[in-house]
């Protein structure tokens, strides 16, 4: 709470800068229009015009807010112009992919921790894959799946799963290895089976690591779903809104879609944060 005021001050400064930039960047068009019409415009008229253009170079914050409001609440959620509809298209692919990627990532991490050969074969590749721009394969997956007859949700979910998979594997392996030798020895004196060591020690100990990777993974999943919507040519989803906005120069639409994506991302990360706090509190791990 101590930092609430500074955060608000910074946000206010950003909005002020944004307005200034909007006036500056949009004024060229206003002056051009006035010169063509052969009239002089006063500074006040220029400012008023730059903040209410149809297709501004940089839409003013209130225009974006209005675009966002119209998109979210201005129409029926089933409408093709509703951001709720497009947001849901993207969100469903994100969630499905994220769930698949997380489950497979945890499964592989458990395998890696229990099998030395698997650890030595797979782990270097999993780490190396973090340095590779995997997102580049997204368009190909979409098109190949399309030619195999799979459309819509599933191909995007596969990209999302793929992107969230590696952070989860790397984080989970770290987490499952986090119990120290003393604790493992204790379970050995209890004659615990590997399975019991896993469920009673390794999995609980890995939770903080898991949630850290889940936050990275869900953000990556959302980016994957958005990029996965680009090559199909702007059918549905937030990525499609971005693309069609850029085709037709609808800048307000682009910014509104961008903020909708930001809200979805922030919401997802926040939900995971809440679950994390509740879970760690129950486990007595909260600091």
């Amino acid at each position: 709470m101590r930092s609430l005021f500074p955060v608000l001050a910074v946000l206010a400064a950003i909005v002020a800068l944004w307005y200034g930039a909007a006036v500056r960047m949009n004024s060229q068009w206003t002056y051009d229009q006035a010169a063509r019409a052969g009239v002089e415009v006063s500074l006040g008229a220029v400012v008023a015009d730059t903040l209410s253009q149809e297709r501004p170079v940089l839409p003013a914050p209130h225009q974006v807010a209005k675009g966002l409001w119209d998109g979210l609440f201005g129409q029926k959620v089933t409408s093709k112009r509703s951001l709720v509809y497009h947001g849901w298209v993207t969100l469903s692919a994100t969630l499905l992919g994220f769930a698949i990627g997380t489950v497979m990532g945890i499964a592989l991490a458990v395998g890696i921790v229990h099998n030395r050969a698997m650890d030595m074969s797979v782990m270097p590749w999993a780490i190396a894959s973090q340095t590779i721009p995997i997102l580049a394969i997204a368009p190909m997956i979409i098109v190949v799946m399309n030619s195999l007859g799979l459309q819509g949700l599933v191909p995007k979910a596969i990209i999302s799963a793929y992107l969230s998979f590696f952070p989860v594997v790397v984080g989970m392996v770290k987490g499952l290895r986090s119990p120290d030798a003393m604790q493992l020895d204790l379970l050995k004196t209890y004659n615990a089976q590997p399975r019991e060591v896993l469920t009673k020690l390794r999995l609980p100990a890995s939770m903080p690591y898991l949630f850290a990777s889940l936050k990275v993974g869900v953000a990556a999943s959302l980016v994957g779903a958005i990029v996965g919507e680009l090559p199909t040519g702007a059918v549905a989803g937030l990525g499609a809104r971005l693309l069609s906005g850029s085709y037709y120069g609808q800048t307000v639409q682009i910014w509104a879609a961008l903020f909708a994506a930001a809200i979805v991302a922030a919401g997802l990360v926040m939900i995971i944060g809440v679950i994390e706090r509740a879970m760690l509190k129950r486990m007595g791990l909260v600091r």
Partner: protein, 300 residues
């Protein structure tokens, strides 16, 4: 333990046998897979000097071999999955094109944006370091922005800066700025009170303390951010090209090759991206090793 392992392999051999009855091709693929797995397990359990790099290499080669064999035996169409040999052939045949794409996207787009973005982030971190108010205000915002799908600004940047590499560099600047900023601010706090007191007893000025103590102490944190930013930079530059580009560049080539269904070209381009990404990361990690040689994490 021994009995468990051998039973596992018996099941594997039985699976190969059962597959052979129905489909010899499947049996061949399975045999190759289980054989390589067996070999890797043997090496891994044996320990010693060699296996550190040998096991992952065998695994990688196995994946490539399985891919090749599966595509050949089942006659998978090249517009669905080209064989690794076809991709390698395409890679070798179109080296000039791939190099031009790499220069456009990797060097002009990603590297320019990376340098500008990281430079701006470090400068901002040093500037706001003196103001507790700005730090408390900017850090939550920076952390929040770092989790957002920033690649979405690509269409806006393409509108502002045109189709050429400048717009890609602009996307990269925004993408790398916040992770580096957050890490650098944390790094500037990393020097200990005792060390700062020592500098004070030397009557060191703010700038002397900054340059001689706090910037070096911040390096491990800074490089952490710089390494994260390498991948982001390439992703930003490639994805921004999906929104409009001149007729050269990795993202453009991927998009254009999809239209022609020449998947071998896309895979070759992905190979370039993988090599560029690892090399970029490797170079930053190498510089880190030279700069932060004093840090405990670099000890052997």
């Amino acid at each position: 333990m021994r009995a468990g392992i051998s039973r596992f392999w018996l099941v594997g051999i039985a699976a190969v046998g059962a597959a052979a009855v129905y489909d010899t091709r499947l049996a061949l693929v399975l045999a190759l897979w289980i054989g390589a797995w067996f070999l890797n397990t043997r090496i891994a359990l044996a320990g010693g000097q060699g296996p550190r790099w040998l096991v992952p290499v065998i695994f990688g080669l196995t994946v490539l071999a399985l891919w090749e064999v599966t595509v050949r035996l089942y006659g998978v169409s090249p517009v669905i999955l080209p064989a690794p040999s076809a991709i390698a052939a395409r890679f070798a045949a179109s080296l000039p094109v791939l190099w031009a794409d790499f220069v456009q996207t990797g060097l002009k787009g990603a590297l320019t944006g990376y340098v500008i973005g990281c430079g701006a982030a470090v400068a901002t971190a040093v500037l706001i370091d003196r103001s507790d108010f700005l730090q408390r205000g900017l850090l939550p915002v920076g952390n929040f922005v770092a989790a957002l799908p920033i690649v979405g600004i690509a269409p806006i940047m393409v509108m502002w800066f045109g189709f050429d590499w400048q717009s890609k560099a602009a996307v990269v600047v925004v993408m790398v700025f916040f992770p580096v900023l957050v890490n650098m601010v944390a790094g500037l706090k990393a020097s200990e009170a005792m060390q700062r007191d020592l500098m004070a007893t030397y009557h060191a000025s703010y700038w002397q303390t900054l340059i001689k103590l706090r910037l070096p102490a911040a390096m491990p944190f800074l490089f952490n951010g710089l390494k994260i930013a390498t991948t982001l930079a390439l992703i930003g530059a490639i994805v921004a090209e999906f929104f409009g580009s001149p007729i050269v560049g990795m993202g453009f080539r991927i998009n254009a090759s999809i239209g022609q269904l020449s998947l071998d070209m896309i895979w070759a381009e992905i190979a370039v991206a993988a090599i560029a990404g690892s090399a970029f990361y490797g170079i930053v990690a190498f510089i880190e090793k030279r700069v932060t040689f004093w840090h405990p994490s670099q000890r052997r």
